[in-house]
Amino acid sequence: MNNSYYNYVTLTVFLLVSCFMIGSVEIYSLKGFGWIAIITGLWLYGYIKKVTFLKNIFYLNIIVLSLYGIIKTEQSEMFSLSIIGILVAWDLERFHSRLQLGEVIRKDYLIKRHIMKLSLAVLSGVALFRLIRYFRIELSIWFAWILIALFIISLNLVIKYSMKK
């Protein structure tokens, strides 16, 4: 199999840059271009100096800014795209770092399977997102609070379960 076809590194960088482009264009309209430039600079510094927590700050910032954009503007499609892009970039970047850990046996199969699963997860998620957008469900305030409570309880259970393991 041609490895260049699955060049996850190029793909990661491409996605990061595209996220940055989308984010910056969007945030420019929200007058947040300077902030995006700072966090991208931090990400680049972290990438060169191998400071891992800086890239997480970058991802988090992009998500927060995109959410801010969704709430404040009407361009929800563009911001949603950048959030999903961040998920893909984050996953590929982690996968790439795992491939650097040592000698990789059955590399092609690993890459192929990973990209296939990631595409499935993202596409099914996007399909659900589109479906809910299509039906335009409205949340009442009480229902939203019940959902928050349920979310916190389930999160607590998940953390407990993972700590036990």
Partner: protein, 415 residues
């Protein structure tokens, strides 16, 4: 999490529904979490007893015992020391089909010592690295790396007290042997083949017989100084390794001549290998040497703490130590107790001084250090202790070849 909370708080269905790709991604990860118990790992070493400089192959096999695919497996062999990895890598990243086995081999060049390979780190996860299980799997292997032994010239032994067993060292006692020792008047029972015909020709009225020098086994104690303060320089570790090799050479040569050899390593612990003969003793000494490490202990700060009674009385003691001024008294005290001491003193300071080559006082520093070493060895030689200086750029065999005539003269002067 941020998305779900902000979506619910702002009652924004766009944000809430945007969390679906993330939720699916995370749930998929948690649900497909593999179990580390399904994996078995074993390690095999191509050899378990080697000498310094040799390479060994480490083979690690990883097997999936379950009927499920393990999507990602990361295996890292934890090496017990700082070894050179000459080929391959001690860690792999792969995927394991049901009942499949992956074998990987890497080559290492281990350092001297007794190494316990104990654990292999294993991490299994699904493709998204969300459901992770990791553990250290025990795979025990032992590796003994002995110091290298090269053949060198025999260093003559100063025999003050020879053992009764026949050996190869001239004992300066008349009797049966191969080398001429003396003549004495013929006594009843002397072999006629040993009559000295030249004396008989000169004095026909009396008969004289030749006496030969007896060859006996000697008792030799080797002493290796492993106190960290003695090797306290950048080149100290290299120097210590050279000293260990030198002790290995000496033990090999003396044991091959049939002598009784013991070894004392004096560092953070008191490591005494009691004297013995033959190949078994050689193995014991080499094993002790392979475990020798530089160390520090308040009790062994000075050489005063050497329990002299463990050395065979009046035996030859060969000490390999980068001498310090404080040790002179202790060494002289050993000599006073009747031991024949031969000191081999490696130079630890000179390579350190070379670093200051551009310093204006370089010549003075060099001269002072040389003078200090000279004065110490002169003081010891005055007390009847023979000192061989070992320059840092010389090999041990070169040192022995250069100084062998001195040792012979020293032995002759005492006999």
């Amino acid at each position: 999490m941020i998305q779900v909370l902000s979506g619910l708080l702002f009652r924004n269905t766009t944000i809430l529904s945007l969390s679906f790709p993330f939720v699916i991604y995370l749930l998929w990860g948690f649900m497909k979490k593999p179990k580390i118990g399904d994996i078995s790992i074993s390690r095999q070493l191509s050899q378990e007893r080697i000498t310094v400089g040799d390479e060994i192959n480490v083979t690690i096999s990883v097997k999936n015992n379950s009927e499920n695919l393990i999507e990602e497996v990361f295996v890292k062999d934890i090496l017990p020391g700082d070894f050179d990895i000459t080929d391959g890598q001690p860690n792999i990243f792969t995927t394991l089909a049901p009942q499949a086995e992956v074998i990987f081999i890497y080559k290492i060049r281990p350092t001297r010592g007794f190494h316990n390979f104990e654990k292999v780190r294993c991490k299994v996860n699904e493709n998204f690295d969300i459901g992770i299980e990791s553990d250290h799997i025990i795979c025990k292997n032992n590796l003994l790396v002995l110091p290298n032994i090269k053949k060198i010239r025999n260093i003559p032994v100063q025999l003050k007290k020879a053992l009764v067993m026949p050996g190869l060292n001239l004992a300066r006692i008349g009797g049966t042997g191969t080398q001429f020792f003396d003549t004495r008047e013929y006594q009843t029972g002397d072999s006629l083949r040993h009559l000295n015909w030249k004396i008989l020709a000169r004095r026909p009225e009396s008969y004289f017989t030749n006496i030969f020098e007896q060859e006996r086994v000697a008792e030799i104690a080797l002493f290796l100084d492993a106190r960290v303060k003695c090797y306290n320089s950048e080149f100290g570790i290299d120097c210590f390794e050279k000293c260990v090799e030198a002790v290995a050479y000496l033990s090999d040569i003396y044991l091959s001549y049939g002598n009784k050899v013991g070894l004392l390593i004096y560092g953070d612990t008191f490591n005494w290998t009691s004297p013995g003969f033959g190949k078994f003793q050689k193995e014991r000494i080499l094993q002790s040497l392979s475990k020798a490490r530089l160390g520090k202990h308040e009790l062994f700060k000075k050489m005063d703490e050497i329990p002299v009674r463990i050395f065979p009385s009046r035996s030859q003691v060969i000490m390999i130590t980068p001498l310090q001024k404080k040790d002179i008294d202790s060494i002289v005290r050993l000599r006073a107790k009747g031991y024949e001491l031969l000191l081999i003193v490696p130079d630890v300071i000179s390579p350190e001084i070379v670093k200051y080559k551009n310093h204006p006082g370089f010549d003075l520093i060099k001269r002072l250090s040389k003078l200090e070493r000279q004065s110490i060895s002169q003081e010891l030689e005055n007390k009847g202790i023979f000192v061989i200086k070992w320059d840092h750029n010389q090999t041990f065999s070169q040192v022995i070849n250069r100084n062998i005539y001195k040792v012979k003269i020293w032995n002759r002067s005492r006999s």
